[in-house]
């Protein structure tokens, strides 16, 4: 019982971390960034290369990798997606194609022959009410809460954060107030990519760096955002806990194969039954003529 609670919480926080970047980009520039999973894997690969390949300090390589991912994300937006801005379907197809190219490129030329792993931040584990939990998983929970808190402060109290939120609410009005919406969208994409990177460096030490993670992360991020309601941050956090616990329960009682089935079913059922998600607000508007 306790282990379900502990691992459910850890899994939920992990999902929230994966989804935040996707939710942020969608929330601000209404771009469903289907290259999200690819950016996640890119960060993992960059960190591994810098740390194991180039022999840098672990912390330095993590920070550098995150920075590079963020630049890659911003570049994807600046050079490609900006040209199909506003055409939702083209944005999805273009970003998905970029993501596929990156992921399958790694499968072809990057990850071969050996297992790629990153060490946990802190070794060792602790007993929590009879369940062994390693320190790294506890750190994941702490970092998750810290990131959510940071995002809240960032978007409510800093200049750039307020500008981003203004754009999310009403782009035209933001334009009139002198907010450069293209620049903000690039910044948002950079931030989203950095969040994808952050979730990667925090979560990847728990397993191997493999290409499939890219697809799984994308699906789970979409699941969290859709169930919570696209564009709603609070909804995303709630949804992360619902899906997180549902996954752990099915994994415990039915088997590990069902983890992704839960996420996929959640997406389809939500879209069929309540497309606006738990806390989305679009429904009311769409009904208007």
């Amino acid at each position: 019982m306790i282990d379900i609670l502990v691992y459910g919480t850890v899994n939920s926080i992990s999902l929230a971390l994966m989804a935040l970047g996707f939710a942020l980009v969608y929330g601000i520039s209404r771009v469903a960034n289907f290259a999200h999973g690819a950016l996640y894997v890119v960060t993992g690969f960059l960190t591994w290369t810098l740390f194991r390949g180039a022999g840098l300090n672990y912390v330095a390589s993590i920070l550098l990798a995150m920075l590079m991912t963020s630049l890659i994300g911003a570049a994807i937006y600046q050079f490609f997606l900006i040209r199909v801005r506003g055409m939702a379907i083209s944005e999805i197809i273009a970003s998905y194609a970029i993501g596929l190219a990156i992921l399958e490129g790694f499968r072809w030329g990057g990850f071969k022959g050996m297992t790629y792993t990153l060490p946990p931040f802190v070794e060792g584990s602790v007993m929590l009410a009879g369940t062994p939990v390693d320190y790294h998983r506890l750190l994941v929970v702490l970092i998750g809460f810290a990131v959510v808190a940071f995002l809240w402060i960032f978007t409510h109290f800093t200049r750039i954060g307020l500008a981003l939120r203004g754009m999310a609410q009403d782009e035209r009005a933001a334009l009139m107030l002198g907010i450069d919406s293209d620049l903000m969208a690039v910044v948002a994409m950079g931030f989203g990519a950095m969040l994808a990177g952050l979730s990667a460096v925090v979560l990847l030490p728990l397993g191997n760096i493999v290409v499939e993670k890219g697809y799984d992360v994308l699906i789970q991020a979409i699941a969290v955002c859709i169930v919570g309601g696209l564009g709603s941050w609070a909804g995303a956090v709630v949804a992360a806990f619902i899906i997180g616990f549902a996954q752990i329960l099915t994994v415990v009682y039915w088997g590990a194969h069902y983890q992704m089935v839960v996420a996929l079913l959640a997406i389809i059922l939500t879209l069929v039954l309540r497309p606006s998600g738990l806390l989305g607000r679009h429904k009311e508007l769409e009904e208007r003529v």
């Binding site: 009311e284 009904e287 208007r288 003529v289």
Partner: protein, 262 residues
């Protein structure tokens, strides 16, 4: 106005979030009459049409058509029963000739049922039927106007096209959402006889309008809305002389102007 109302709106209420767009609005539409619905901007006129035709779900209240409850029915079912509407924002097929636009309503089950021996194109061809309808509504058949690209037509013809789309269904009620807006005086003047002719064919017309002067010439009865509530109901003369209505239309000179004209 005959005894049995064809359309009854009972306590229609619609809330968008916290805003009450309609608050317990009730009125009847008599068979064969022209009813005008007026009100300042944001008074809920278009919302009424959307609620009657099923394009928005009402929060509460009921709509009866010939005594039958049509509340909450899907828009296409309501249209299929004969309650049709025009749209304020018209989006015809700009890339097609005007008469081709009528193929779409003529394809509907109602047009096939009501189209008589021509079956709205079941036996004949929908293009010819379309041109016939356009001729009735004021597109000169022998000119090139019905065959012109829709994008090349002036607004007046587009509004007629919108009406023609309703007429193709052989409706019992037409709800017109601001058919006069954006038209010049002469264009409106040429539309007025059309409305009268539609009425003479036994079709009930509900008109939402900003152009009071023209509306008052064709309407039998007027319902005035303000802030989502029904302010009053009566003949055009009664409405014009009402103090509350003048206040609702801030610039009361509008009403005065209409009065002096009428």
């Amino acid at each position: 106005m005959s005894a049995e109302p064809i359309l009854q709106v009972r306590e229609a209420t619609k809330a968008f979030g916290g805003v009450l767009a309609l608050n317990r609005v009730s009125f009847d539409v008599g068979e064969g009459e022209v009813l005008g619905i007026i009100g300042p901007n944001g008074s809920g006129k278009t919302t009424v049409v959307n609620c009657i035709t099923g394009f928005i779900k009402m929060s509460s209240g009921r709509v009866l058509f010939r005594g039958q409850d049509i509340t909450g029915k899907a828009p296409h079912k309501i249209a299929d029963m004969g309650v049709t509407r025009t749209f304020q924002v018209m989006r015809p097929y700009y890339s097609l000739p005007a008469f081709k636009n009528l193929v779409i309503p003529l394809f509907s089950p109602r047009a096939r049922r009501t189209g008589g021996w021509r079956g709205g194109g079941r036996l004949g061809d929908r293009d010819t039927v379309g041109v016939d309808i356009l001729e009735e509504i004021g597109f000169e058949r022998d000119s090139f106007v019905p065959y012109k690209l829709t994008s090349a037509l002036p607004t007046g013809y587009l509004k007629r096209l919108e009406l023609a789309r309703c007429l193709a269904l052989k409706p019992e009620v037409i709800l017109c959402d601001e058919v006069f807006s954006g038209l010049s005086m002469s264009e409106i003047a040429s539309m007025l006889p059309l409305i009268e002719r539609i009425q003479m064919e036994g079709i009930t017309v509900v008109m939402i309008e900003h152009r009071l002067r023209e509306l008052f010439r064709v309407a039998n009865r007027i319902v005035v809305l303000n802030f989502g509530e029904k302010l009053m109901e009566g003949s055009p003369d009664e409405v014009m002389s009402d103090e509350k209505v003048r206040e609702a239309y801030f610039g009361s000179e509008v009403v005065e102007e209409v009065m002096t004209y009428a």
